[in-house]
Amino acid sequence: MLHYEDFSEGQIFDLGSYYVSAEEIVAFAREFDPQPFHLNEEAGRNSVLGGLAASGWHSCSILMRMMADAYLNRSAGMGSSGLDEVKWLRPVLAGETLSGAMEVLSKRVSSKRPEMGILKCRWQLRNAQGEAKLDQVGVNFIRVRAP
């Protein structure tokens, strides 16, 4: 189990890859973001997004899944208070395979809660061509092994 002490500033984690199917895009959009360019290939092609594109909240959720699989579910995670910044840089299109990376920007122990470490991180998703799709900066809370 990874704890706060196991993360270091500048460390980079590979978050693996994730195939985004048209079915998954449409299923998420039906439930949470039913705009035509997230539901229908033709409407997507005729929009500024240029094809059937995932809801921005869907791409954030995909990144969350990749984070959980890559490191959070083997870490003593304590959640997150939020994100400084989320950039939807390019649309995530049906049929793309995304790869993710995380960089630890800085780390500190909470002054109010000595058992809680705070990692400031940057997370990115890119497609197979290396184009950046999503960029997030925010925090992960990770338990301190020896407070």
Binding site: E31, F32, M64, R65, A68
Partner: protein, 159 residues
């Protein structure tokens, strides 16, 4: 947003977006798909975790905002159309800043969402569009602010 062109999107304008009910089943379904951290998918792990009991993924809380926002947009656009007024479709968003998960959203909670226009500016690079800045919030049934972020959306100028 809400069918309004950039010129009609006044700073200070706000909309109640309705609410989303976080059932235990919806929380588990979302978390199993997108955020399978123990405290989102197991009552036992949640009891010993940071939130004390089963809580929704923060991205589920965010997706709930979007669901209510899109539904309100579609209703408002329909209302304008029925009144014979021009409708300006909602434009894409480049992202947002300062997203805060302020309190856990627990099974059985109902979150009511809101959006308020805080600022707007024209874009030198895209003369047909402006950028509208918003403050977006979610309150639980006790009136506690549980979620907020500062959104932005490209908005078409009047033709």
């Amino acid at each position: 947003m809400m069918g309004l062109a950039y010129e009609d999107t006044a700073v200070g304008l706000s909309f109640d977006l309705g609410s989303y009910h976080f059932t235990r089943e919806k929380i588990l379904e979302f978390a199993r798909r997108f955020d399978p951290q123990p405290f989102h998918v197991s009552d036992r792990a949640a009891a010993n975790g940071p939130f004390g009991k089963l809580a929704a993924s923060g991205w589920h809380t965010g997706a709930g905002w979007m669901k209510c926002y899109v539904a309100t947009n579609q209703r408002e656009e329909e209302r304008l159309r029925a009144a014979g007024k021009p409708v300006s479709p909602v434009g894409p968003s480049p992202g947002f800043v300062n997203l805060k998960w302020l309190k856990p959203v627990y099974a059985g909670d109902t979150v009511s969402y809101r959006v308020k226009v805080t600022d707007k500016r024209l874009l030198a690079s895209r003369p047909a569009w402006g950028m509208v800045l918003t403050f977006c919030e979610g309150f639980n049934q006790k009136g506690e602010l549980v979620f907020s972020f500062e959104g932005r959306a490209l908005t078409q100028r009047r033709q």
